[in-house]
Amino acid sequence: MGRTRVVITGIGAVSPLGLTAGRTWEGLCAGKSGIKRITKFDPAKFTCQLAGEVEEYKIQQYVPKSFRKATKMMSKDIELAVIAADEAVRDSSLITKAIDEQKINVNPQRMAINLGAGLISCDPCELAPAVAKSLTDGKFDIKKWGKEGIELVTPLWLLKYLPNMLACHVGIIHDIQGPSNTITCAEVSGHIAIAEAAEVIARGNSDIALAGGAESKVNPVLIMRQCLIKRTTNQHNDDAEGACRPFDSDASGSIFGDGSGIVVLENLDNATKRGAKIYAEIVGTGQSACINPAYEHIEPDGYGLTIAIEKAMAQANISPKDIDLIIPHGTGIPQDDLAEAKGIEAAIGEETKRIPVWPTKSMLSNTGAACGGLDVVAAVLAMRDGIIPAAKNCVKKAVGCNLNIVKETIKTNIRYALCCGYTYGGQTAAVILKKFEN
């Protein structure tokens, strides 16, 4: 088999800054924050009352008429994926079944999909009537649930909450019949999904792949979970804009949100043949794990991240000197930010002082499985425009963090950009993009 190069030919994003990649990028460049007080439910008694919610949309606008009935089976996570996928496919000029059934210019069997997804948490209100039917003396009674309550649960309920339903709905809409996978590695799912999709193309199993991730974290169960694990900040409920402070000395936790970031990956030959616009090339990916007995955090030296970055650089055949931009995970959780800073520093050595590091979660919030896709989209646009926007809320770097956090917007040619991520539980990943050169 010959050498296969994998390029990005389409991008799509949904974020608290907007419903498109363009709007998201504008917001990032303007230093806007998409973090606000939660409106989806009353968070008054939550320790953290803030989140990154996306604006209203009509999902019907993003699916072909023949599929509109299926929107009833879509949880928010699925909708976010469908919207970003629609944008990415249109941006790539590929004509799938959803775009125009008469002019399809792709072979469905040669298209793959690989999305990162969270474990979709169900909506308590949706189950509430069934729970109400299952009470004995005001207490939940499993015997009543099994007999009566269950009857009030809509028959297809489970299908809304299986993580692979993001890829399935998108796959049906665009008629993607090749390999399909759903990565469930929490906050690093999106990075891994993009890496694996590139591998699927590189080994010849498909010519085109939709890859990235989507997740809706703004759900009372999930926000409560993060509050209980103490990963959220509880000190900024009156200061949404300043709440999420990656690598800042005043950081006190993360803010969670909704989002989706999806890219179209394509075999270079395929992209060239059809005259596609090419944003960037994926030149290296690496993966490893942090090992920490207190596994809600990564290990203090971020070694698992170091390994992932080193592997990605080796695969890209570059050294830290070549890297012009790093988008880190940067959650705003002080302990993890410090570990990440150390892990990155160990991988890039003396270049730590030079390489601009641009965390995005102060503006986009922590969108879980969507993070990797959103960061790759942001890196692609930074590369296209030659702009690295200023980091937000990193006023005074935390002690021990030696990274060069971008203070003011930089205009520069970006040849290589590194996006890296990790998650509680330890999985790490790095993706290196290169500005496209023939």
Partner: protein, 440 residues
């Protein structure tokens, strides 16, 4: 540049299992060959009033029997704990040290990866339902989030919440083994662990790792899991005869039986296995993946995606359909799956379809969902090793439409050189792995 396939040969050098038929390979295998069933009345929670009252549970399992430091895994969900036990067995067989910072096995931990098809941890149902009950006003259909929060914040436990995340079984395995290579977890419904093993094979082939700890871990035997499947009418409701409920390919099949467990294989590059002098159990020669892109609720009527995945795996293995001796079926015992799977096998195996030997061990073990493919692949390796194919039990009333050789009720002694494991998941996820008797 993303690496091209290097065509390293990939072999299996260790296996471990925790499943309804036993907590180790040989116990499971003997039970399977004896035609035993792992199905019984559900005890994990009170399912006595549910449409289905039985399941295939892992019973009397204690992770402390497998590890020196069980404390590290004490908060783990059922799947994580099963995965730890299965991985210890598999690593022991492969000669990989666990629970040590100074392994004496000479294997660089950066060259060991993990790929699991793994599912969620069960919710804390008391807290989950209790909070909803406290907050919901059934007259106005409005949730009082203050009341919800009062219960949720007190009853939900931080570690229990963390352990519900699907990446946790993989996290436990990296702590257990020290693996620092590529660590991934996927969840493509019932096809997840077959996909994990397939992708792990590719990871070694292209040279990203020498060893991959691959397989699945899952338990959906919890109230919400069973609610979901019951509402989909996917589960058998044969409450008066649980042990005969899983009856794939029969006329009276009425749904699958929910099971749980973990199954782990150690995949290794042939080069590494030879260098270490590891005992080689079998070789993975092919992997194929596809999606139906048809309906969220149903398989494609003609098995389009299933056929594509099988043919992709055969092509990847550089063999033809004539070389396959045994198909370990997805065989869930649902009306739709068994009929479409049969159609797909006929399409792929053409004139040989009726000679091909097909069996479903879900008849004995139930459906381990995310872990199913891994457990079933292990039985393919054992079939190759011992020259015997496990039976489809409870096969007493053939469906006239389904006319393949399903190995009814009695295991079959036969030489197996090439076995195909196929898995099909909700939403149209199709994954197929082909395993072959190892020859130098």
């Amino acid at each position: 540049m993303i690496q091209d396939v290097k065509k390293e040969r990939v072999v299996i050098t260790g296996m471990g299992i925790v499943c309804p038929l036993g907590h180790d390979i040989e116990t499971m295998w003997q039970a399977l060959l004896a035609g035993k069933s792992g199905v019984a009345k559900t005890t994990i929670f009170d399912a006595s009033t549910f449409p289905t009252t039985f399941s295939a549970e892992v019973k009397n399992y204690d992770v402390a029997k497998f590890v020196k430091n069980p404390g590290l895994h004490k908060n783990g969900n059922r799947g994580s704990k099963f995965a730890v036990g299965a991985t210890v067995q598999a690593c022991r067989q492969a000669g990989i040290n666990v629970e040590t910072d100074n392994p004496a096995d000479g294997i660089d931990r950066k060259r060991i990866g993990i790929y699991l098809g793994a599912g969620e941890g069960a919710a804390n149902h008391e807290a989950f339902f209790g909070a909803i009950a406290a907050g919901w006003d059934n007259q106005t259909n409005v949730m009082d989030w203050t009341k919800w929060t009062d219960v949720a914040a007190v009853q939900m436990r931080a570690m229990h919440e963390l352990e519900q995340e699907a990446n946790m079984p993989a996290a436990h395995l990296s702590m257990l083994t020290g693996a620092r290579g590529p660590i991934r977890s996927c969840l493509t419904a019932c096809a997840a662990s077959t996909q994990a093993i397939g992708e792990a094979t590719m990871t070694i082939r292209r040279g990203d790792a020498d060893i991959m700890i691959a397989g699945g871990a899952h338990s959906m035997i919890h109230p919400l899991g069973q609610t979901g499947f019951n509402r989909l009418t996917a589960l058998s409701k044969r409450n008066d005869s649980p042990q005969t409920a899983s009856r794939p390919f029969t006329a009276s099949r009425d749904g699958f039986v929910l099971g749980e467990g973990a199954a782990i294989v150690i995949l290794e590059s042939l080069t590494s296995a030879k260098k270490r002098g590891a005992k080689i159990l079998a070789e993975i020669i092919g992997y194929g993946s596809s999606s139906d892109a048809f309906r969220v609720t149903d398989m494609h009527e003609e098995g389009r995606g299933a056929i594509q995945a099988m043919e992709a795996a055969i092509a990847d293995a550089c063999i033809t359909y004539k070389d396959v001796n045994y198909v370990n079926a997805h065989g869930t015992s649902t009306a739709e799956n068994d009929s479409i799977e049969t159609k797909a096998i006929k399409a792929v195996f053409k004139e040989r379809a009726k000679q091909i030997v097909v069996s479903s061990i879900k008849s004995s073990m139930g459906h381990l969902i995310g872990a199913a493919g891994g457990a079933e692949l292990i039985t393919c390796v054992l079939a190759i090793r011992d020259g015997i194919v496990p039976a489809t039990i409870n096969y007493n009333d053939p469906d006239p439409e389904l006319d393949l050789d399903y190995v009814p009720n009695t295991p079959r002694k036969m030489q197996v050189d090439v076995a195909m494991k196929e898995s099909f998941g909700f939403g149209g996820q199709n994954n197929v792995v082909i395993v072959k008797k190892y020859q130098d």
